[in-house]
């Protein structure tokens, strides 16, 4: 339980007023709490570091915490200073704001810590001076992206709830192949078949020697037509099955069908089916050949298997404006230079620059510094302009490229960070488990009392999951059991049966805490909460530190020795009647 929540404890306890009138039994007794300057200088004590300033300095900005009466809440009578339990290093900047009117953002501070301090002191970040504003905004944006990444990661790494439908399970297996071995196998199998299919397409066109009764070389595809056809069929069947399964499993079919990956899948398998449907009609065979080209799009199916490919695609998408600018400026330059070259070369004989569009080819080849040499200017004017063309080509292309590269680099590093954080998560969680969450004992005892009040209101008790399951299964046994005390004495070794476990749990209410001490060394699991509640009810001084999140676990075996005896011993304590009434009520339920 976070320490901050402890501040809300009085409120939570006050909210119990809603339970009081509906409870049919009195509430348990709460645990006792052991515990209990005109213009002049204002001393601000921030976690021990003393700052001093004039009263009027602070009152320059009356709509912040320090400038308004809100600071009275932090006034410490004994030392007549204002005490804030906050970070003194960041406070320095906040106080400087009052002094100079300019808020600065220190580069070495963490952005979220700084934001928290600003929010606490009621200062809006917009007034950060121009000198530091850019930096602040950039850091904030990075932080927001990181948080988004974390959320996505959380969504992806959610522990699977036990009751996933088959469809949800299938979808999860497809999207995160590392979740189950079957999914992983399927992932590798499809990858393998994509590779096979693409290679078959390539090898198909390689010349494979001549047939005996022909002089022309035939391609391998024609020679082993049947083999390639079978291979193609097998690949397409696998892809079709995969696509259909994904379609079935998709949570939103329309969204899935519009997604890029599914379009690629469809485009990859369509040519085959269209080819089956069409016959060897001469009219459509030309179109059929074109369709075969689409088979090469199967290679894009690899983007599911490769994160790098996805990053590249995402980069191109995000750099759309830069790419657009590049395209536009190139087009402009091409048209200008092509026109100039055409008119320059118009005079020379047998020139290849027959029209402006024909000159486009020369311009493109020259600007990208390819220089095939199939079209060359012959006149001097042509050569001059040709050289200007090649020089400017270098410049125009070089300009937008760094922007694209930096975008790619940023996205790539982001994905690397996500991978790194995924790896670090495991060690972070291990560290957290070690540190644990220790709340102060008074808080725990009061929280505990609150939960006990709720139990009294509803006449039910909190139990842990295991006990609950056991209870459900053995509910029939409970109904048969007679008086609890007799079964206790008659079954000293019936420790595994849930009846006796429950009996012991009830009787534990009347046990004084001395038994707890012995038991704590022999307990099977961690200290059971029911013990400690009994210790509170018995009004003993030691407040045993509890972990409220721990299950309410049944006590250990040793307890069996004298439960009946101790309940009679407790006759003297005020709580006996209370605990006796507990037992009575329980057996009535």
């Amino acid at each position: 339980m976070a320490a901050g929540v402890a501040a809300w404890l009085p409120f939570a306890r006050a909210a119990a007023i809603g339970w009081m009138p509906v409870a049919s039994t009195p509430m348990p007794i709460p645990p006792q709490d052991k515990r209990k300057a005109q213009d002049g200088f204002i001393i601000l004590n921030v976690s021990g570091t003393k700052f001093q300033t004039w009263r009027t300095t602070l009152e320059r900005y009356p709509d912040t915490l320090l400038g308004s009466t809100e600071r009275d809440f932090f006034f410490h009578e004994e030392t007549s200073e204002y005490f804030f339990d906050r970070d003194p290093d960041i406070f320095r900047h906040i106080l400087n704001f009052y002094r100079t009117g300019k808020l600065h953002y220190p580069r070495q501070e963490c952005i979220s810590a700084y934001d928290e301090e600003l929010a606490f002191f009621g200062i809006i970040p917009e007034i950060i001076g121009d000198c530091c504003y850019e930096e602040y905004k950039d850091r904030r944006r990075e932080n927001a992206e990181r948080l988004q990444d974390d959320e996505e990661m959380d969504m992806n790494n959610d522990v699977a709830p036990l009751n996933l439908t088959f469809r949800e399970y299938l979808w999860r297996a497809f999207e995160n192949p590392h979740t189950s071995t079957l999914a992983l196998v399927f992932y590798y199998v499809t990858g393998f078949f994509i590779a096979i299919s693409v290679m078959a397409n390539v090898v198909e066109t390689v010349p494979c020697g001549t047939l005996p009764n022909r002089s022309k070389e035939v391609s391998c595809g024609d020679r082993y037509a049947l083999a390639f056809f079978c291979l193609d069929t097998a690949c397409v069947m696998i892809f079709t099955v995969e696509y259909l399964l994904r379609l079935i499993a998709a949570p939103s079919r329309c969204k899935f069908m519009k997604s890029v990956m599914s379009v690629i899948d469809v485009v990859a398998i369509m040519p085959y089916y269209i080819g089956l449907v069409m016959t060897d009609n001469d009219q459509v065979s030309g179109a059929f050949v074109t369709l075969r080209v689409f088979r090469v799009f199967r290679i894009f199916k690899f983007s599911r298997h490769s994160a790098g490919l996805r990053i590249l695609g995402y980069t191109l998408k995000s750099c759309a404006s830069e790419l657009g600018f590049l395209l536009f400026s190139l087009t402009m330059a091409i048209i200008i230079f092509a026109t100039v070259m055409f008119y320059a070369e118009k005079g020379s004989t047998a020139t290849k620059f027959t029209s402006i569009p024909a000159a486009f080819w020369y311009t493109i080849v020259t600007m990208t510094t390819l220089g095939y040499g199939d079209m060359v200017p012959k006149t001097i004017v042509g050569k001059v302009f040709g050289s200007i063309c090649s020089l400017s080509g270098v410049l125009v292309i070089a300009l937008p490229v760094p922007v694209i590269v930096s975008n790619f680099s940023r996205i790539y590093h982001q994905s690397q960070r996500a991978e790194k954080r995924r790896a670090q998560r495991a060690s972070k969680e291990a560290g957290k488990a070690l540190v644990g969450k220790s709340a102060s004992p008074p808080f725990e005892s009061q929280h505990h009392h609150l939960l006990h009040c709720l139990e009294k209101t509803t006449n039910h008790e909190f139990v842990d999951e295991q006990t609950f399951q056991a209870n459900c299964m053995e509910i029939s046994v409970v109904n048969k059991s007679g008086s609890r005390t007799s079964s206790l004495s008659s079954s000293p070794h019936g420790l595994s049966s849930c009846c006796s476990r429950r009996h012991r749990k009830k009787s534990s209410f009347s046990l004084p805490s001395t038994n707890n001490q012995e038991l704590s060394t022999i307990q099977i699991r961690e200290r059971p909460v029911s013990n400690s509640r009994s210790s509170l009810n018995a009004k003993l001084d030691e407040t045993v530190p509890l972990k409220c999140d721990e299950a309410y676990i049944s006590p250990s075996m040793v307890r069996l020795s004298a439960p009946v005896a101790t309940s009679s011993d407790d006759a003297s304590t005020a709580t006996t009647t209370y605990s006796q009434s507990n037992i009575v009520r329980v057996s009535a339920l």
Binding site: A6, A7, F73, H460, F462, F468
Partner: protein, 210 residues
């Protein structure tokens, strides 16, 4: 030229960051401590303690319903306390503006923790009376009861029956509805509560919360 101003896919991200930016600067400042001391039954020291905790958790000075539910749920990890937190929020938010400021918080606490028996019972009645029409019907009580039972969660002993809230409501009306007209008015409520020893005894629960 459209190309020069083509929208960057990343633009939407920065926009949303800036939007969040604007909303988070809503700030509420409470009344001065002197005024609050007059209007509630807390001493200055107690107000200081309360405010420090409040301000730490909600630097903006107000709690909205989501935060409220979240805070309350941390005290009841096993069950679902959102419905009861909702009813509490409605009861604390006296001016019905969707957020609980420090004043609302402190006024509510002052009544519950330091008020007379009548005040407290009045407050509880106000909590139960969801539509604030002066009487509690069985449906309203059933909603409240269900929300309380929801806080227990699934793992209880004995196993929670589905009609446990309804039975509890029946026994509540048996006790409280004196003229058997199907609703409990404020007078019936206060009267029956004062007659019930258990409830009176439980009221001492609030004597040393702060």
């Amino acid at each position: 030229m459209a190309i020069f101003t083509a929208t960057n896919p990343f633009m939407s991200l920065t926009d949303s960051v800036e939007d969040d930016f604007e909303l988070s600067t809503v700030c509420h400042r409470p009344e001065s401590m002197d005024k609050l001391e007059e209007q509630t039954k807390f001493t200055k020291k107690e107000l200081q303690v309360l405010y420090r905790g409040f301000k730490n958790e909600c630097p903006s000075g107000v709690v909205n319903e989501e935060n409220f539910k979240h805070i309350y749920s941390q005290f009841f990890p096993q069950g679902d306390s959102s419905m009861y937190a909702h009813f509490l929020f409605e009861a604390f938010d006296t001016n019905k503006n969707g957020s609980v400021s420090f004043e609302d918080f402190v006024f509510g606490l002052s009544i519950i923790l330091r008020g007379t028996i009548n005040d407290r019972l009045n407050w509880a009645f106000n909590l139960y009376d969801l539509n604030k029409d002066g009487c509690i019907t069985k449906e309203e009580m059933l909603d409240i009861m269900k929300s309380i039972y929801d806080m227990m969660g699934k793992y209880t002993y004995p196993t929670m029956m589905d009609d446990a809230p309804r039975e509890h409501v029946e026994s509540f009306f048996q006790k409280m509805d004196q003229n058997r007209d199907g609703v409990v008015t404020i007078d019936e409520f206060i009267d029956s509560c004062k007659k019930d020893e258990n409830i009176m005894q439980s009221m001492q629960l609030f004597d040393n919360v702060i």
